[in-house]
Symmetry: C2
């Protein structure tokens, strides 16, 4: 697995997985330097529709956010304001009150506001280059395919979809449209993670022999969509366990071949529809085993530990939006970087890939690979046996 990422506004192409120090230095530098454009919304609000379309043009691609939940509100919109090549161009929501609130805050004209029914009209909006699908998992396929049919590039939140089959259809649709499909795996650009990939690849701690990884949290509101199978597809595994799967995959650079998994449900009422806590073991082609856990029932697991022949290294608070903490058993190896805005980085790298006409990764195939692992874990639990992971 190799990820080619484009430098942030600096016109160079790097291989993030090879951990080119220049990339880290420059990209972080760029992120730090760029002030939060707090005044933008108020200014834009005073402008009409065509002015809105024009003012942020140039090299900035227009992004439409589909789904205005907390991720869009608290992370993506503020992050877009920090980017170099991206801007908030349109919103798609089923809630008129949310639309009004966003229009006011970001000065979005009526012509750039869609709902789930009239979304397809976005085909006629040249301001929108990218559609970012931030909906509940079960709606990812539909809106990715509709966006592709509308001639837009698609950026899709993780998990890419509820099933591998859905992923395959999404990949095909975007490919047919001649557009790009990126998946929101922000950790793949986060400097602590990138550095750990380098440590693994360059065998700084020798050949990797074992990985422990876990991510979970105590899901609060019992009414949230994450706990509804029809919307989320699954529970903790699909929502946060996927980060631990990602870590195992990008640290090894391999795809797991065999999985055994076990589930527990200590609150069968709250988690009646989706998985609560899962523990599993995955075998990779090199012989490495990875132990993975995920949960919606409690806080406290948010890490990976990689054990090599020559020592150990890992991250704590590994998968949050910021505040990663690296450690290693070698006093000379520090894993310490300034915080970045994960969302600003991933969106701008996607924009930059499109502007440069270069393929972006992680693309749809990466999302598909995780779904194949997730499906194998669920299958192992259901059948009570070791299962092979299907291949792409």
């Amino acid at each position: 697995m190799e990820v080619f990422a484009q430098g942030l506004g600096l016109g160079f192409t790097i291989r993030a997985l090879r951990g080119c120090p220049k990339f880290k230095k420059l990209s972080i530098h760029t992120m730090q330097r760029r002030p939060f454009l707090a005044g933008l919304g108020a200014t834009a609000a005073a402008l009409g529709s065509s002015a809105w379309a024009k003012q942020e043009s140039g090299r900035k691609l227009g992004w439409a956010l589909v789904g205005l939940g907390s991720l869009s509100k608290n992370q993506l919109a503020p992050a877009l304001a920090k980017t170099t090549h991206s801007r908030l161009a349109a919103i798609v929501t089923g809630t008129p009150a949310k639309a009004a609130e966003w229009q006011k805050q970001y000065g979005i004209p009526d012509s750039h506001v869609y709902n789930y029914e009239n979304f397809d009209r976005i085909v006629d909006n040249p301001d929108v280059d990218v559609v970012y699908v931030v909906l509940p998992n079960s709606m990812h396929e539909e809106f990715t395919i509709r966006a592709a049919k509308a001639g837009k590039h698609v950026f899709c939140e993780k998990p890419m979809a509820n099933t591998a089959e859905e992923c395959r259809r999404m990949i095909e649709a975007v490919k047919s449209a001649g557009k790009q499909l990126g998946i929101g795996y922000r950790c793949q650009f986060e400097p602590h993670h990138v550095e750990c990939m380098r440590l693994a690849r360059e065998k700084v701690f020798g050949e990797l022999k074992f990985i422990e990884a876990g991510f979970g949290f105590q899901a609060g509101d019992p009414a949230q969509w994450r706990l509804r199978k029809s919307l989320a597809g699954g529970g903790a595994l699909m929502d946060v366990g996927i980060y631990a799967i990602q870590a195992c995959r990008y640290l090894t650079g391999e795809e797991p071949v065999e999985i055994v998994a076990q589930e527990t449900k200590t609150d069968p009422v709250k988690f009646a529809e989706v998985d609560e806590t899962i523990s599993c073991s995955m075998k990779f082609p090199s012989g490495l085993l990875a132990s993975l856990m995920t949960t919606y029932a409690f806080n406290g697991s948010n890490f990976f530990t990689a054990i090599g022949q020559g020592g150990r290294f890992g991250l704590e608070a590994a998968y949050g939006y910021g505040g990663q903490k690296g450690w290693s058993s070698q006093p000379g190896v520090k894993i310490e970087f300034p915080a970045t805005d994960h969302f600003a980085v991933e969106m701008d790298l996607f924009s930059r890939a499109i502007l440069d006409g270069k393929p972006f990764a992680p693309a749809g195939e990466e999302g598909l690979k995780d779904l194949l692992v997730i499906e194998a874990i669920y299958r192992s639990i259901r059948e009570g046996k070791a299962v092979a992971v299907e291949t792409v």
Copy 2:
């Protein structure tokens, strides 16, 4: 599971698992205070057989070490010299050169030296109260039963035997002889472990929800008995994985009911006969899952982490002979104790239980329970499916 342990030379009985602070304070204090009796060997060497028998009598029980490998040489003999109620009384070895060396060092008369053939004559030696079986695992059953038939109490190294069936015969034999059978689970008396048991039992971090535990090391010499199935019964799991099993069991106070496990063998030549690296997940009656790993292929895993609703705690360098390091997510909860001699403590507590006529724990049933877990792990690997753990 409750362990009643006897205070070291202080005549009080405590419940180690309830973490009575007095126990910890006093026992550590006692261990620290007792000087290493370095001069004992040289002095005793100058005495004849009957003097040897007499000089360390009184409240000191005589221990016979069966098997003079590195554990006996580097840990047990030095540890016996630090005890209050125990003393080295006899040795049993198949190697005359070793016998000579030990006789010289510890002043052991010919009458107190046995080999594996004439071992049963120990029945006639009133100096020997306890036989400590320190042989390769496959010989534990035979020598435990022979020792019991010779009217001796038996202390047996972990793993108690190769199979649960052997454990059951050992328990029956020692019971029939009206003697006690203790298993060498030194961590059950180690202050850091005892404190973690207390934190778990008293729910200082809330109800335990998940445990991660691992112990492994890189097995050096490819010719060692540990890598021969006929002698060791199994590999890393039986030798060191058992510590992680113990931790999961004594932190929860429960027996696992279902297990899924996976094995990898990256060096099929060196580990042709025994397991190299295993990862598994265990479900407990309360719904808690534990993730466990063990290996003979690499260093770097020697820990447990317990995650409760209110935070995390654990040990690093958890299972070594000394140097345990505790940590917790609550700044106010420190897990820090002076080092103890694990072997001196466990042997003296066994002696003390016998002197007081009280049952010692961990006894044979505890060893049996671990073998039932070990057998379930191997069965899960062999059959590639989730298996139930057999009950005692």
